[in-house]
Symmetry: C3
Subunit: 508 residues, 3 copies
């Protein structure tokens, strides 16, 4: 019947529109540490068998032990999501402590309070006063972010604290008044509290290119403080930094290979302004807990920096002191798996970036010394931003959307999932197209059959009608023809979704 | 009847779509000084009872006097809109003078020719030659903007002149050839004419973040001229500025409290490079005429700068000379009510910004001195831009859209109106939703009634038909069922706006 | 008949939607050198009658000769598109050579391998070692772009090579180790290979404002290398550059006018760091081959730079050495016809830009000398970017979309075509509007006629029906009226595209 045809058309219409909308991909990540009840933080042997495979479905006894072990690890590795969730229900000061610890670790892109705790341990090993200043900086930066009502999730991830700890630490490191000069806490607190403002402002700019702000607020604020007061100041004098004005004395015979090797952990320690190898070693451990990929790239970066220093004929003292390493460490971590999904191409890119960063370190250190300033982490920021702005034709170098960045292992999982999803979607699409063609053919057959039935019916009706009324016939057939014509147009237009079906007269 | 149902569906559809489109809010501002006929510019007692309330509906005699008084004030306070409108019909050179005067005042964000006139008076009090250079600079910057066919409204508001006056003034101030060195007018005119080009270029960038260009063109062009020629130049030598290379001699016993207090107006005067306290005082008056809020924040900013100078152990001479004040003055005005709507939170933010700006002043002054350059207003520009880029979760810190910025009092009016409008809209929306629910219920009742009527009618028809034709019955009821089914779908789909109505055969 | 009306409504609907979509303008350019078969590269007299008019339809004998001549010229002038197309089918190394040559010429915005060849000849004339370094730089920059899978079209146009040649050349020029210091090739290759990365990163930023990256990557990378190593370095020492610290000795009597004139070609040569006038002369020839407009602006720019140097009391030595010219050359080319379509206004703007660039050169040279750096082409980049960001109200200053930039003559053709197109479209639009009004009037007439026919028909039907059945009459007419009503709504709604048509029962 014509009436049933009409409804069919409408329903098909609706179906096609809903089916088109329903294939939106679910890009949410499966949490690595889901269904966890209580975190077990005391497992000392986690460093050897750190793996992140999903648990097998039917485990034998040793497999079950391994699964338990992995689950245990998952509680304090990565970004400690479960712990973070659990913290949300705790006392505010405890939460704040969690945020401060995460902030301390976020300097190395690690969102992990345990790593933060270990880092603070390393800082205390280095210098009590510096550690105190770092803590004050992180604390007040976080508080300031709370006052300014910044994004709570970002605060909880320590993203407003890491500039604070660096500001606090480095202001203490470069102060010429020595340790325990308590007045220093005043500019320390002021500058720490400015961190979220500068971060927010820079984020407004960088977010246009989906870029992070890195440690730019720290660089800006510490340089600001140092150059505002300078070496010749009564209240807050800075250590004297002067540009090189003669050829450094470099004799390759005097090179100390042991010191050269210790320069790798020292370089990692210098990220926080620490020059003790043990402190650097502790930092390496803290990185490994959260993410082995990060840890590997940190060591690699520091080594690249050291090699670059030798290549560019830097004074050995600077190399031993880790000044060539810390920027490369950060740059290598950032590119190698943190903001790009780790592939071999990205790994090579990270090493290239580390070399570029080493070059840039030397350049910026020389420029900044004209103003009596240290290089801070400007070289890292600039080189990493440059490499993140890179656009290539290959899909092997995949920059993660900023909102999806967590830690290298999870980023990799996200990247793989996305790739799989893409493949499946492509397959689904191909299948769907096949189905649609099939369906269209079938529908055509049905339509033809119906049409024939209808025509037969008409003929029968006409036969009957002829005996009844003979003068209206021409009129009737005209209408029928028209309907057929119109149905044709209707079928063609089905994809437009905005057209109408037409009905017709029925008559006996 | 089925037919009537169909049309009803369509009409409802149309109504809902038109009613949805008609509730667009009218965000236009009520002019503060509407229905004015003649400006009365000579009222000397305006400083005491400056108020901006709208006139009351039925005034008594003293109220009427007050209203007249306020109306009188409104002619030359604020942005003198009425005067500007009146000017549009005047001789071109007179218009140009208006634009130049407004340009002179726009340095302090004041769009008021009377303030501009007073500022020029202050400049003449300071130094004839400087005033001349300032005038030439404003004039040629405005002319250049006209040649380059920049936005006429912006030109008329003096937005292309204020960089010109600063360029002219500061080139004269920092010239080492002394006053009345007429050759200086050549680079002065060239640089002034470059102002609109640099302004336009910077605006292309800053407008992406809805930010003003502030005095960046002035900073760029004056630094350009000064560093291009430098101190060691035959034609256009600059005063010698050198970085500090020894501890300044600061003994707190020698502090001169009177000079410290005069440093506040001097700081305001230094915005135009003037160091005489009386000139600064005149500038304060010119600010007060246009906008008391601006004036208050200017004084506040200068005081903050002075305090910061003391805190950072600056040489007293610099503080007395107002070098710590002028950037803070501008930053405090910009944040405190000019680009943010003034609330208590914004007021605190403005003070924070002034402190940050003071820090930045010291830093930039030290950096620039390496190149033999003064700090110009770089610190103000950078700090104000940073604070304008800030994004917070609170709605108490409301950044005005750049196109709506006028002066603090009017901005506040705009902010209040917007808030009221929002409230009203929310109320209206709630009311509308209530109405719609009511309407839907009523419609349902009507529909049910109609449906019952129709069914009754059908039953009657069927009763009649039964006696006539009995063989077609199965067919008929099928169609009817279908129609009922379909009506159901139709009702559900009414929100989609793209659906179809169907009719059916009628038969006897 | 009602049925026919319905279909008409739908068809009109469809027509209106298709006609709206079909008027998209075809903005593709007609190639200047289409239908060419073989390039003839040896024509020495092309410099006198360089013209680019299209060939006349019916040429006489001398006209035909001229046409042939012009066609011959078109093979090696402009961007040598035909040659580029032909190259695509050649051996890869030959292609690479083409890209390297185009890269060498792209420093001057010339996309022409012949010009590139001549430029390399000029470089060899200047210094073998420099030429080698330049070649290595271009080669490795191009290879790096290939590895990073950058846009193949851009690589083929030499857009990834020109920073490489400058990096290679200038690293050799500023090296303090003298010629044939083979180790220099190592940082040369590294920096050249960084070029595409920095270019891509800068393009990500600049493309937001549709701006090119100019030679910014070269500036960044050469300054990076120079300041990273500095004058006091064992491996890669740089020449010593120091800020001016005393008044230069300028006596106008000593001026050498001949040297002043040779400073114009020297200025052009200094774009590639060459100080020999003959090399500059060769470069002028290479520019003329590709584009006379570019050549004229290059000479003009160099002259403007020389004049500015005199005006700002620069030491004569610097002027003779072409240091005041090369930035102005590039700025004048860029603004004068390359990125703006050449009109008189743009020509004046280009000269203004050259003056501004000269000022900026002096300023940046002084600033950079503080760090022991040369000015490189920073002044050109900054001034040209500033002038490209300029927005004006006049349509005489037309900035070409970046994707449409080729060379001044072709840009001009594009601009003229666009203007013509705009005119035609405006005319067409006006005509179309007229037609539509006409059509609407006609349709109204037809509709009215149909309506009258229908009404007559109805009346006739009614008359017939009256004699047949008298009890159903009220019902029928009600339906008919409804239909009429509805048709009205339907016509009003035709623009919405989402409406429905309704039909009704027919009965005998």
């Amino acid at each position: 019947m014509p009436g049933s045809h009409c409804t069919k058309g409408i329903q098909k219409n609706i179906n096609s529109s809903t089916s088109a909308a329903s294939s939106f991909p679910a890009t949410e990540l499966q949490p690595l540490m889901a269904n966890a009840d209580l975190p077990s933080e005391h497992d000392n042997s986690q460093e050897n068998r750190m793996e992140k495979d999903p648990v097998q479905p039917e485990p034998t006894n040793p497999q079950r032990a391994r699964a338990c072990f992995l689950k245990g690890i998952s509680y304090f590795s990565g970004d400690m999501k479960v712990f973070g969730k659990w913290m949300e229900k705790q006392f505010f000061l405890l939460q704040l402590l969690d945020w401060v610890l995460r902030g301390a670790a976020q300097v190395m892109f690690v969102n992990n309070p345990l790593s933060g705790l270990i880092i603070f341990a390393g800082l205390i090993l280095q210098n009590y006063w510096w550690a105190l200043n770092g803590f004050v900086g992180t604390l007040f930066a976080t508080i300031s972010a709370l006052i300014l009502q910044q994004n709570r999730g970002a605060i909880a991830a320590g993203l407003y604290g890491y500039n604070g700890i660096l500001v606090g630490l480095l202001m203490a490191v470069f102060s010429n008044k020595g340790d325990w000069y308590w007045w220093l806490l005043l500019p320390n607190i002021f500058m720490s509290m400015m961190c979220p403002i500068v971060s927010s402002a820079l984020a407004s700019i960088n977010s246009r290119w989906d870029l992070p702000v890195f440690t730019l607020p720290f660089n800006i604020l510490v340089c600001l403080h140092m150059v505002a007061t300078g070496h010749y100041n009564h209240n807050f004098p800075q250590v004297l930094i002067q540009p090189r004005s003669e050829l450094p004395n470099i004799t390759w015979a005097e090179i100390d290979v042991a010191k050269l090797f210790t320069s790798v952990p020292v370089g990692i320690g210098q990220v926080y302004g620490c020059d003790k190898p043990w402190t650097g070693g502790i930092f390496i451990i803290s990185l490994f807990i959260s993410s082995p990929i990060t840890c590997a790239h940190a060591v690699l970066g520091s080594a690249v920096g050291m090699v670059s220093g030798l290549a560019l004929a830097a004074p050995f003292g600077d190399i031993y002191f880790g000044l060539w390493g810390y920027n490369c460490v950060l740059a290598c971590i950032a590119i190698g798996g943190m903001f790009y999904a780790l592939t071999w191409q990205v790994h090579l890119l990270a090493i290239t970036c580390a070399f570029f960063c080493a070059y840039l370190s030397a350049a910026i250190a020389n420029i900044m010394s004209t103003f009596g300033l240290p290089a801070c982490t400007w070289p890292f920021c600039l080189s990493a931003l440059t490499f993140l702005l890179l656009t290539t034709g290959t899909n092997k170098i995949f920059k993660l959307p900023l909102a999806k960045v967590t830690y290298p292992e999870k980023n990799l999982g996200f990247f793989w999932k996305l790739k799989k999803q893409e493949k499946m979607e492509r397959a689904k699409k191909a299948e769907k197209e096949g189905n649609e063609q099939q369906k269209a053919i079938e529908e055509n057959i049905i339509l033809n059959e119906k049409e024939q039935l209808r025509l037969e019916h008409e003929r029968m009706e006409k036969g009957m009608a002829e005996s009844e009324a003979s003068e209206d016939e021409n009129d009737e057939t005209h209408v029928e023809d028209h309907w057929v014509e119109q149905q044709g147009t209707g079928d063609e237009e089905i994809g437009h979704n905005d057209l109408t079906e037409v009905t017709l007269g029925d008559h006996d």
